[in-house]
């Protein structure tokens, strides 16, 4: 375990140092409302280093944090504004027809409707595998929220191959600097937002497609998607430990997987989790640290009065039941309130004050003042009796680094609190027979100290 996570060292530090290039306060993505994409084939890296042939949507244009003309898994997260007329132009460099569908969007029109490009398919207008025909999908982003898109052509095979992505529709009045909300009202306000697009892969499908193409056969020959058994599980197209590495340009050796999943927050902040069931299986997504409030499903606020902006039907839970094709917006908060000991250590250990506001939290650090200066109620075991995690700072206190034996810890630059966010079907936190890995990452609750910033 420790060895595996130690390998992470440099890349993880890079992720934290890079800021915008790594973990970002807004989800990584490309802004519209016009998107030019080409479906392409390339290879992705599983968490154990294995290479899988994959298909994905590649951005035709240059976008910060993305690789132009490189297919990516998942496809580019398309970020648009409520009311935008969204236009997606799709070309196809794959060996079979491909398309896009937009669950949760209504009134989608296509170039097949106007006979200006593409071939009508079972679900939607398809782009033939000629690399030049452009198929256009147009819709109005009428509701803010979190959505997904995926191939509407042989989706049983093509989503497995990687043709899936996320859509974020910003509410009217959204401002990244001054007004961060998911749905336009205080009930969905947040300080930081992160995407968790959950998918899985069966490597045998990818091998079979690769063999077919080498043999000059149609790619789907002999592929039985009903026999699907996954060996790899992904968050935002990466399997742990890659989920915790830098994004985009920070990890140039993973151009086909530009997104990481490295949520960070300070105590007292509101973190918006945009969670999507992007594959075929259900996943119980357990977030250590605290319960969250699921405030919206499938891009609709959980409110008893439509349009009120008050998510009064929100559900508190410690695990988000992620169902294929569904999306969830959940607000996660953490303060350490009521632990019964001072998370910054006693005043004798760490001179600090606690000045309570009307809610009982320190005005700056958001420390829960009722627990101020209370010692840790137990003595921790001797070092020889402990096994140390790579993300353990060596101290129980937030922002304090303790002594660790040589070679232990080392991945927790700011002495933050690391909590695992993962599939609680623990079979899925492996990479094809190797533990740990898969559908797993960590949230970092960072100390509010000078020099530590979260965009």
């Amino acid at each position: 375990m420790t060895k595996t996570l130690l390998r992470l060292g440099h890349a993880l530090v890079a992720a934290l140092a890079l800021g915008a290039g790594g973990a970002s306060a807004v989800v990584d993505g490309i802004t519209g409302p016009v998107f030019n994409l080409t479906a392409r084939a390339d290879y992705i890296t599983a968490g154990d280093g294995a290479s899988l042939l994959a298909w994905g949507y590649a951005p035709d244009d240059a976008h910060p944090g993305h690789f132009q003309d490189v297919m990516q898994y998942p496809g580019p997260t398309m970020i648009v504004n409520e009311g935008d007329e969204v236009i997606v132009n799709l070309k196809n460099a794959l060996p079979m027809p491909v398309s896009m569908v937009f669950p949760g969007q209504s009134g989608v029109t296509t170039s097949c409707d106007s006979a200006t490009g593409g071939t009508p398919g079972a679900l939607t207008c398809e782009a033939p595998p000629d690399g030049t025909t452009t198929v256009t999908y147009t819709f109005t982003a009428s509701h803010p929220g979190t959505y997904l898109y995926h191939s509407g052509t042989r989706p049983d095979l093509q989503v497995e191959m990687g043709l899936v992505g996320a859509i974020v529709v910003r509410p009217a009045g959204f401002d990244e600097g001054t007004n961060r909300t998911a749905y336009g009202d205080a009930g969905s306000a947040y300080d930081h937002e992160y995407l968790f697009l959950l998918t899985e892969m069966d490597f045998q499908v990818h091998e079979q497609v690769a063999i077919n193409l080498m043999a000059g056969l149609p790619p789907e020959t002999g592929v039985n998607t009903a026999d699907f058994t996954s060996e790899y599980w992904f968050i935002n197209g990466r399997a742990a430990p890659d989920t915790m590495m830098a994004a985009g340009a920070g990890t140039p050796w993973m151009p086909t997987q530009p997104y990481n999943a490295m949520p960070r927050m300070f105590p007292g902040e509101r973190l918006l989790m945009r969670v999507i069931g992007g594959g075929r299986d259900l996943h119980p997504f357990h977030h250590h640290g605290n319960n969250s409030w699921t405030i919206a499903r499938d891009g609709r606020l959980l409110e008893s009065v439509p349009g009120s902006g008050n998510p009064d039907l929100a559900v508190s839970d410690f695990t988000v039941k992620v169902v294929p094709g569904n999306t969830y917006d959940a607000i996660f908060e953490w303060t350490g309130k009521g632990l019964g000991w001072d998370i910054y250590g006693t005043v004798a250990l760490n001179p600090h004050t606690c000045t309570a506001d009307t809610s009982g939290f320190d005005v700056v650090t958001r420390e829960w003042c009722a627990d101020h200066d209370k010692p840790l109620p137990v003595v921790l075991p001797n070092q020889q009796d402990l096994a140390f995690g790579g993300f353990w700072s060596g101290s129980p206190y937030l922002g304090a680094a303790g002594a660790l034996p040589p070679g232990q810890g080392g991945l927790n630059a700011n002495a933050g609190y690391f909590h695992m966010w993962h599939s609680h079907a623990e079979k899925e936190i492996t990479n094809n027979d190797i533990f740990p890995g898969g559908m797993m990452t960590m949230v970092i609750i960072e100390p509010r100290v000078e020099g530590v910033t979260i965009p």
């Binding site: 039907l313 559900v315 410690f318 000991w341 009796d385 096994a387 695992m420 079979k427 740990p436």
Partner: protein
């Protein structure tokens, strides 16, 4: 004045006993306030009315599946009341499935000591263990038991976790060390926290309880208990039972037993269970007899009872049954139904089903679906139900089996008198 003086002197002695004297390397070291002999039993509970102590061992052992198959497991056992010098021998080969149920009360300070008793059958393993109090609110890594971000305890030593219990509800606990392996191997158990309303009654306080509604569980005149601090009695119940769903892959367990590579990718659970047993063992209200090794005909674990938890529910018509459901399978979602009886879900994720402003979101249903790491509080109202035997079972019908034996698995009986 005299009392205060005694108390502070006791406090000082306690500090000497368990605050200032770190254990020697590799020793059992139980930390529990007012416990002079480290058996995790408070000498004089009146002096520590809100403290609660427990001592678990982590190690290996055996259980018997409902088709008679002997299964090697990792697990916890309860060492509360055992002196430290006996803890290692008592904890050896003592793994239970499920792990001992942990029943707590809001307002308590819970000191949970975990001693790693080692793997008697696998002396080649030096695995640390942890306790992850799954769902603990506002958790700090030091007591979260998630070893990648904190610490695990090595063989022969003890860690004491501290939890200030401010939220009621149905949680669960498990070892998080090499989680896929240790959880498939069985280090899983039920954990719940009673609400303070049990002791205050509705609208009362600890200082001035509303005696007519204080829970019978706490000696009051009210209903047996409440699930949450509902303020209106809507989560009241008369009978309660934690039911933890889970499942084992015998190929994985056998690979561990025989020191073979562990089949993570091939993992496929074949023994679906409630509280560590498949039907019909679920309805045996007694402990299962100690597991027998079929090759020798002798006890596989030194004669220790390792499956003490029944899932048989009995109630009188008209009573409300609280099912504290949780799922700790590492592979599957499971749906359960109580055929012929209405189910009302009043909580999920150790939280009353009410929105942020208190809006009621309870719902009536005839099935509940839980993935691993999910919990639900379900009240079954037997008013209007004819006396008889009803079944609580998974509607994932292929899991009504004990490996190759049909008709068994994840099912139990609710008997209404």
């Amino acid at each position: 004045m005299k009392t205060t003086c005694t108390l502070s002197r006791l406090g000082f002695l306690v500090a000497l006993a368990w605050g200032l004297a770190p254990a020697a390397h590799g020793a059992v070291f139980v930390q529990c306030p007012g416990d002079s002999n480290q058996d995790a039993v408070i000498d004089n509970p009146a002096l520590h009315p809100n403290a609660k102590c427990m001592h678990l061992s982590g190690g290996d052992g055996f259980v018997t599946m409902a088709d008679g198959y002997l299964q090697y497991i990792f697990g916890f056992s309860d060492l509360t009341g055992v002196l430290p010098e006996q803890a290692m021998s008592e904890g050896m080969l003592a793994a239970n499935f499920p792990a001992p149920t942990i029943a707590l009360k809001q307002g308590q300070q819970f000191y949970l000591s975990l001693t790693n008793a080692g793997m008697a059958i696998r002396p080649d393993l030096f695995d640390p263990h942890t306790v992850h109090f799954h769902g603990f609110p506002q958790a700090a890594p030091v007591f979260d038991g998630m070893p990648e971000g904190s610490i695990g305890i090595n063989m022969g030593a003890t860690i004491t976790y501290y939890y200030n219990l401010i939220e009621p509800g149905t949680f669960m606990y498990h070892c998080h060390m090499e989680a896929t392996e240790h959880m498939q191997m069985g280090m899983l158990g039920s954990l719940y926290v009673d609400p303070i309303q049990n002791r205050t009654g509705i609208g009362g306080s600890l200082a001035a309880p509303d005696l007519s509604t204080v829970a019978a569980k706490e000696g009051g005149a009210g209903p047996y208990g409440y699930v949450y601090n509902d303020g209106d009695g809507s989560t009241a119940f008369d009978v309660e039972i934690p039911i933890q769903l889970g499942s084992f892959d015998p190929a994985f367990h056998d690979a561990s037993y025989t020191v073979q590579p562990l089949p993570f990718a091939e993992m496929k659970d074949k023994y679906p269970m409630m509280n560590g047993r498949g039907y019909p063992d679920t309805v045996n209200s007694a402990s299962l007899p100690p597991p027998i090794d079929p090759e020798t005909g002798e006890s596989a674990n030194g004669g220790k009872v390792s499956q003490p938890v029944s899932s048989r529910v009995t109630a009188t018509a008209g009573q409300k049954i609280l099912l504290r459901l949780s799922n700790l399978s590492v592979t599957n979602f499971y749906t359960v139904t109580a055929l012929g009886l209405p189910m009302k879900v009043v909580g999920t994720g150790a939280h009353i089903l009410r929105g942020p402003d208190g809006t009621d979101t309870y719902y009536d249903t005839s099935s509940v679906t839980l993935g691993g790491g999910e919990a639900a509080d379900v009240i079954v109202d037997t008013g209007g139900a004819a006396p008889g035997t009803y079944f609580l079972y998974t509607t994932n019908l292929n899991y009504l089996s004990n490996n190759t034996e049909d008709y068994g698995g994840m099912m139990t009986e609710i008997v209404i008198n």
